[in-house]
Amino acid sequence: MRSGSNLEKVLAHGDFAVTGELGPPQSNDREVVVKKAKAYKGYVDAVNITDNQTAIVRMSSIAACAIAAGLGLDPVMQMTCRDRNRIAMQSDILGASALGIKNILCLTGDHQSFGNHPTSKNVYDIDSIQLIGMVKGMRDDKRFLNGEEMKSEPRMFIGAAANPFADPFEYRVVRLAKKVAAGADFIQTQAVFDVPRFRRWMEMVWDHGLHERVYILAGVIPVKSAGAMRYMKNDVPGMSVPDELVRRMEQASDPKEEGIRICVETILQLREIEGVSGIHLMPIMWESIAPVIVERAGLLPRPVYDQDDM
Amino acid sequence: MPKIVAFACEHSAYEAAAAAAALGQKTGETMPMEATVPGENPGFQVGRVGGVEIVKVPCTGRVEVIDILKALEGGADGVIVLGCFEEACHYLTGNVRAKKRVGYVRRLIRDIGIEEDRIQFFHLAPDMDARFSRIIEEFSRQVENMGPGPATGITVTGIGTGAREQGLATGEQAQAARAR
């Protein structure tokens, strides 16, 4: 085991993994994290805690991860390259490991112009692929990025993001291959609405044999309303939403139920695709729906492993 | 009557001005066209129709931002740039560029608190003597309502500064003029 995290155990066992996303509050309110984390408990194998997503200041991922870990969840600490240089990143990785965090998702990060501090200076000292390599170097070689040795290594299960729907389409798999080469253990993708296009991307993944070298968790978002679906289609960069789904949401008498149904259908389709090792649920502002979706997708109960398992 | 400087394209507006002068169309008064003399800017000639200083230019595209500003600084209360209709420019797009440039100068003077309508652009054809007279009349009324222009009384060189001669020589006078 590279990290011994619950997520790694599930994937190594060959179980179909389920992860969920948790956005920390724009405050120091611990209870918000506790409430959201408890909603996930027993329904997901690991919970991703976002890092100031869309460049809006929130409780730090590392702190919220520690809270979630304290409740018995397996947190995935998201880390973007936007806000920290390599010194701060390595420092936070050491700290996270000391707090019992065993998964990290390495991200470029949304540009600060989207957030609530657009006048801030971005960092982007290293990019997400270099971050992956840095964490791997710390874990496997016990070395800091500068080559200096460390006494004990942070054991992290290293994740990366992939967006099958962004451009240039042909380059997407090359970039995924670079992430794998840099040391990614698992991949969480952008939310899939357009399953056929995702399948085409997976075919390219197969061609490169990448599905045998990295666990791929396909992202899904349960959508509450037709308006939200249209927003996904029109306003989220790097997202592909078929017109059919917008129509279904518009015509539904119970849009929430229709949103759940679409999400569950998508999961069932994704599960059939070779090389998809799990799903990553991103119920933005709707964390409470996660158990319903996981249950209706037939993904319960979640596997449980002993502390010493493997 | 306010002091007006008009930059007029020799292919259109200047002809219209000359015709208007010949006909004496402006509000019934006669408006003799005074002789044009070479300006400091090569290719520009300065003349006068009634109270308006006419700067004959080969194309309004030749009128620079600084020409317009110096006309104002030199004592003009308002500056108009009179070019050909859009498709009719002798140099294809000189008039379009002049119109944009006028927009730019309008923003500049607005930024320093001067009424942007002191600077305007109009299209004219050579035979539009009546339109020329109407433009002058209407523009003069607008400018008059705004009060005296932003003349600084500082000696400036440049085309269209003839207005200064019948105007103000020093800063004190400029202030006195504003106070009236």
């Binding site: 390259c81 936007r82 390599r86 470029t108 990060g109 949304d110 540009h111 112009s113 989207f114 971005n122 982007y124 000292d125 290293i126 990019d127 997400s128 692929i129 270099q130 390599g133 990025l145 993001a161 992939a162 967006n163 729907f165 962004a166 451009d167 240039p168 042909e170 380059y171 090359v174 970039r175 291959a177 670079k178 952008q190 960069p237 790097g238 | 620079e64 931002v65 600084i66 500003l69 110096k70 104002l72 600084e73 500049l108 003077i109 930024d111 320093i112 608190g113 001067i114 932003p150 003349a151 600084t152 009384g153 500082i154 400036v156 020093t170 800063g171 004190e172 400029a174 202030q175 504003r178």
Partner: protein, 225 residues
């Protein structure tokens, strides 16, 4: 070239408030070409200042706003020409880039030198009236690996290993008006038959060459006197 744009006139007027004799100094090099601070623009700014002050009733024989333009503000040898005019002014309003302002400030010790421009970037005119940043002056050029298109200057996140997930239809996630630099790099490498090179992971950049503490220096021993 260095591309700059004029500060809002209101900001310039606030900056020079309290001075009576202003010398507006244009620069005949980069900022002339990008139409921000050449002779023409110096004339326009001086005229605007005079009119703005006249509006406020501030003009008096003690007031003097004049302009002068030197060939290159960032080289002392060109600044001697305006020394007398500078001496006769209370404040110098530089229409040069940041280097020009500072060169004048060092040359004319004890004289207030103020910037009339915001210096923007190293770039080129894409077409008449439009300039685009091309080079970030990072001190460690990667253009050999990126098809002659700079990801440091032209990618919103200065990424070295390909486009982030926000690239769509050739545009950046930040704005539909911004070309995705990595799409441009991809297209160019493809046309050069060099796509394979983009499969290599580029290591973290040596930013020491960009921000190594204090102003960076270039030394040519053979040229030193």
């Amino acid at each position: 070239m260095i591309v700059a744009e004029q500060k809002p006139v209101a900001e310039i007027l606030r900056m020079i408030d309290g001075y009576r004799r202003i010398l507006v100094v244009g620069c005949g090099t980069c900022v002339t070409v990008c139409m921000a601070g050449g002779e023409k623009e110096a004339g326009i700014l001086a005229s605007l200042i005079r009119m703005a002050w006249a509006r406020e009733g501030r003009l008096s024989p003690l007031i003097d706003v004049s302009e002068a333009t030197v060939e290159r503000q960032c080289e002392w040898e060109f600044l001697g020409d305006i020394a007398e005019k500078v001496a006769a002014s209370d404040a110098v309003l530089s229409m040069g880039c940041g280097a020009g302002v500072q060169a004048m400030a060092r040359m004319f010790e004890g004289k207030v030198v103020l910037p009339a421009l915001n210096t923007k970037f190293i770039g080129m005119p894409e077409r008449q009236g439009l300039w685009t940043e091309l080079c970030a002056g990072c001190g460690d050029c990667v253009l050999d690996r990126t098809g002659g298109i700079c990801p440091i200057a032209r990618c919103s996140k200065s990424l070295l290993n390909g486009p982030c997930g926000g690239s769509q239809n050739g545009k950046c996630e930040v704005s539909k008006d911004i070309d995705c630099a990595w799409q441009l790099i991809f297209d160019r490498m493809k046309s050069l038959g060099r796509l394979e090179a983009l499969g290599t992971v580029l290591p973290p950049k040596d930013w020491f060459k960009n921000r190594d503490g204090g102003p960076r220096k270039v030394v040519r021993e053979d040229m030193l006197l």
